[in-house]
Amino acid sequence: MSADRLIAYALRGWFLVALFFIFVPIIINFIYSFSPSRFPTLPLGGFSTGWYELILNEAPVPRAFGNSLKAGVIVAVISTFIGFAAAYTDYRYRFLGKNFYLALALLPPTIPVLILGLVMLMFLSRVSLVGELYSVVLAHVVYCIPFAMALIRLRLAQMNPDLESAAWNLGANSWRAMREVIVPFTLPSIFAALALTMAVSFDEYLIAFFVGGLTETLPVRVLALLQGQVSPRINAIGSVVFTISMSLVILAQILLLTRRSGGRSIAAGGK
């Protein structure tokens, strides 16, 4: 075997090792969620759905799950709408202070969530908006907008910039052109943004921990359990969390991959 091929195999092997490292905790979590034993042992002690039954009957968990789901859906809708509006504004208009506007849209994820949670708690408690599920929603939307905006802006960038003007030219006013052209064209990315922002909100725990007060979301419940002793309940909750957020992220990716057609390339040449 030539040295080139050997190197190629080694590099690919390394990539698989990296993937393995990334997926190990997820796999382990699924495996031990079905283990009857309290501690992670080898070999496995059998198969049991006991932990799942336990969390189902332990009041805080289903309640937290419900809170997470509720918050996730609302956050997804609001942040996708605002993200869409911001992406469209960036696409369509040039104005004074646009860089500042874009910074507002894109900066939040570069601030550690711990600090975001802290400042939001400080601020929201001053204006008495703290400790409820809607406080979590308010804060999560700030954090989720950039993800929604980025996805939708990328889709808009694939759009022939004359399409909107063409709709006006054919008699559609601004709102009608939005409905007939911009929205249908960006629809896959809108759905992807809904799924992704819901996943981000569903998984976020620090902001939720700070501003949610007694209204726990599911990851905050995990955080609470984590701070106690080792509890295999977390494996069961974790599996549920993984399944939901992975489904959402996978859904988002599938939405973005399909219907890629119809971008700028419609008329070869152009300008």
Binding site: A166, N169, L170, G171, N173, E180, S261, G262, A267
Partner: protein, 361 residues
């Protein structure tokens, strides 16, 4: 006398510091095919976009049927545009694309379908109605774009270099299709292009633009044979421009002394005076070439530096000194007897009445 269909009255368009259109006066009559031609950046597309309402004039007035249009939004006018990149809606089928304008005008679904199908049939696209835009060829897309623009039966159709994305063959075919269509419909077409042969082949009138201004408007023949100024003479056709001074005026002829010889030309209106500086225009296709002196009329000589074949037409480039390259365009068979290898000394001649004197400014 009633006003033309569309009137542009001293229309100006500024983008910040830059003036794209600098006071355009233009009248387009009902049923005519006007080509607006010029180099890129001359303001021709901006002019078209102002007619469509996609840009708002900074000054001046645009009137359609005598009504001021300036403040109307694009969707409040009926001035459909065929876009350079066609701008067909990729998420809609061929039929839905064509129906779009009718739908925006709240035409009932059945009538909408009928009228759109009629247009698709007319353009030979009926069987593609249900297809996706991406499944069509370049020429088919072109026809969809035209059908989409015409389905509302507008008084005027605007076209912004719609053929520039097509290959040469298809372009020529579409040119004649569009011309035919315009004749059948009797609708006014305003057609923007930078391509001279396209404009001359299709239009009944040509407007030449440069620097945000219209330089000349006239029939293709007028513009070709009697350019209004230096820019038009240089931009249109393949003209040779020679500058010189008037030395004599007699018998309806003016004699002009240039660095390459003394040439005669018909006296233009208004007549120049002796000593005036003038520019003479000689169209390359009216020049005879020979390897010996002694031709009648205006003659100059120079060294052949290169030749260029396009089909059966051959263009000779003759260096006549002072940095001027003189062009002569001939059918290939006309040059059979001539040895035109590079470096040879050649004589170019043309008849005095084929010399055109550029109007003085």
């Amino acid at each position: 006398m009633s006003e033309a269909l569309l009137v542009l009255d001293k229309v100006v368009k500024r983008f910040g510091e830059h003036t794209a259109v600098d006071g355009v006066d233009l009248q387009i009559s009902k049923g005519e095919f006007l080509a607006i031609m010029g180099p890129s950046g001359c303001g021709k597309t901006t002019t078209l976009r102002m007619i469509a309402g996609l840009e708002q004039p900074s000054a001046g007035e645009i009137r359609l049927n005598g009504t001021r249009m300036n403040e109307l939004k694009p969707w409040q006018r009926d001035t459909p545009l065929v876009w350079q990149n066609l701008a067909l809606f990729p998420h809609l089928s061929v039929l839905k694309n064509v129906e779009f304008g009718l739908k925006m005008r709240n035409v009932a679904a059945r009538e909408r379908r009928e009228r759109s199908m009629n247009w698709l049939e007319r353009m030979g696209l009926a069987e593609y109605a249900g297809r996706n835009i991406a499944q069509l060829s370049g020429g088919e897309r072109q026809r969809v774009a035209i059908a989409r623009a015409l389905v509302t039966e507008p008084e005027i159709l605007l076209l912004d270099e719609p053929l520039s994305a097509l290959d040469a063959h298809l372009r020529v075919r579409m040119q004649s299709e569009i011309t035919q269509l315009q004749k059948q419909l009797g609708i006014t077409f305003a057609y923007v292009t930078h391509n001279q042969s396209e404009a001359f082949a299709m239009a009944s009138r040509v407007a030449i633009m440069n620097g945000g201004l219209i330089q000349q408007i006239g029939s293709p023949r007028e513009v070709y044979r009697a350019p209004a100024n230096h820019f038009v003479a240089e931009f249109v056709g393949s003209n040779n421009i020679l500058s010189g001074t008037v030395t004599a005026l007699e018998g309806g002829q003016v004699t002009v002394q240039t660095a390459w010889g003394s040439f005669n030309a018909p006296t233009p209106e208004p007549a120049p005076k002796t000593g005036d500086a003038l520019e003479l225009v000689v169209s390359a296709d009216l020049v005879a070439v020979s390897d010996s002196a002694g031709a009648e009329g205006n003659v100059l000589s120079g060294e052949l530096i290169s030749e260029e074949f396009i089909g059966s037409i051959i263009t000779l480039y003759i260096d006549i000194g002072d940095g001027i390259v003189f062009r002569a365009q001939k059918q290939q068979h006309e040059l059979d007897a001539l040895d035109y290898s590079s470096g040879r000394k050649l004589f170019a001649s043309w008849r005095p009445e084929h010399t055109y004197v550029l109007p003085q400014i």
